[in-house]
Symmetry: C2
Subunit: 113 residues, 2 copies
DNA sequence: TCCTTATACATATTGGTTATAGGTATGATA
DNA sequence: TATCATACCTATAACCAATATGTATAAGGA
C-alpha cells in the first residue's frame, strides 16, 4: 500500500503548523490530531515530523511555547507569534502561487497545441 | 529576494514533466520553457533539475526518448509511456488529496473552535 | 495486579529530491 | 569576432520529511 503522504509534502508541515497555531494555542500531541482531522485524514504527520518542526519554529521566533502541567502530565503549548504570522502570509502566498502554476499545467486541455 | 521556488516543490518536477509529455513530445530545453510559460512563470525549473528528472523517468520506463538532429543540433525528444500515464494518474490523485487537505486547514474559519 | 493502550514528550539517522554551480558545444546575431 | 541563445549534461550541496526508537505517566480492561 502507498504511504500516507506520498511526495508533495515539502513545506507543508511548517505551513499547517503555523496556520493552526495562529488560531488557537495547542500542544504537540493535540496538534498532530488536529492536522489529521482537519485535513480529513489527507495529511497525517508523525510525531517525528511535528516535534522537530515545533522546536525549529520556536527557535526561529515564529512560535512561542509555554509549559503546563495537566493531570500530572506535561504539555507544551505553542502559539504563532506576530513574526510567525508574517511568515505564514508569505508561505500561503508561495503555496497558492505554486498551486496555481501546477493547476495551470494539469488543467490545460490537450487540443491547444 | 525570495527564491523563485520556495518550498512546496517536492514531487512537482515529476508531475509536470509527465503531464506535459503526455500531451506532446518535447525535448528538454523546450520542456523547460513550456513549464515556465504554461505555469505563468510560477514554476521555473532549472536545467539541473529537468535533465536529471528526464533521465530518471526514462530509466524507470515512464518516458521514452528518441534523438533527432535539427539544424545541426541534437535534440532528445521525450514522451510519456503508457506506464508513465498510469503513474501520472496516481500522482495527480496524490497531489489533489494533499492539496485538499492543506486547503481544508487553511480555509477553516477561526470561529469554529 | 498485570497488561495494554493512549497520552505526551523527544531525537538520531536515513532517504529522497530539489537547488546550485559548474561544464561542453553549436548556431545565430551584432 | 564576440556574445547570446540553444541544447545537452553532471556532481555536489542543501534541505526536509520519514522512520525508528526511546522515555514516562495515566487510564482501562482482564
Amino acid at each position: 500500500m502507498a504511504k500516507t503522504n506520498a511526495a508533495f509534502m515539502s513545506g507543508i508541515p511548517e505551513l499547517v503548523v503555523l496556520r493552526l497555531l495562529s488560531r488557537s494555542e495547542m500542544y504537540g500531541y493535540e496538534l498532530i490530531r488536529a492536522i489529521r482531522l482537519t485535513s480529513g485524514e489527507s495529511i497525517v504527520l508523525a510525531e517525528g515530523v511535528v516535534y522537530p518542526t515545533l522546536h525549529g519554529l520556536e527557535q526561529r521566533g515564529l512560535l512561542k511555547a509555554k509549559e503546563k502541567l495537566v493531570k500530572g502530565r506535561l504539555r507544551v503549548y505553542y502559539q504563532t507569534t506576530a513574526k510567525g504570522k508574517k511568515r505564514l502570509v508569505e508561505l500561503e502566498n508561495d503555496w497558492h502561487r505554486i498551486n496555481n502554476g501546477v493547476e495551470a499545467i494539469l488543467r490545460r486541455v490537450v487540443c491547444q497545441n
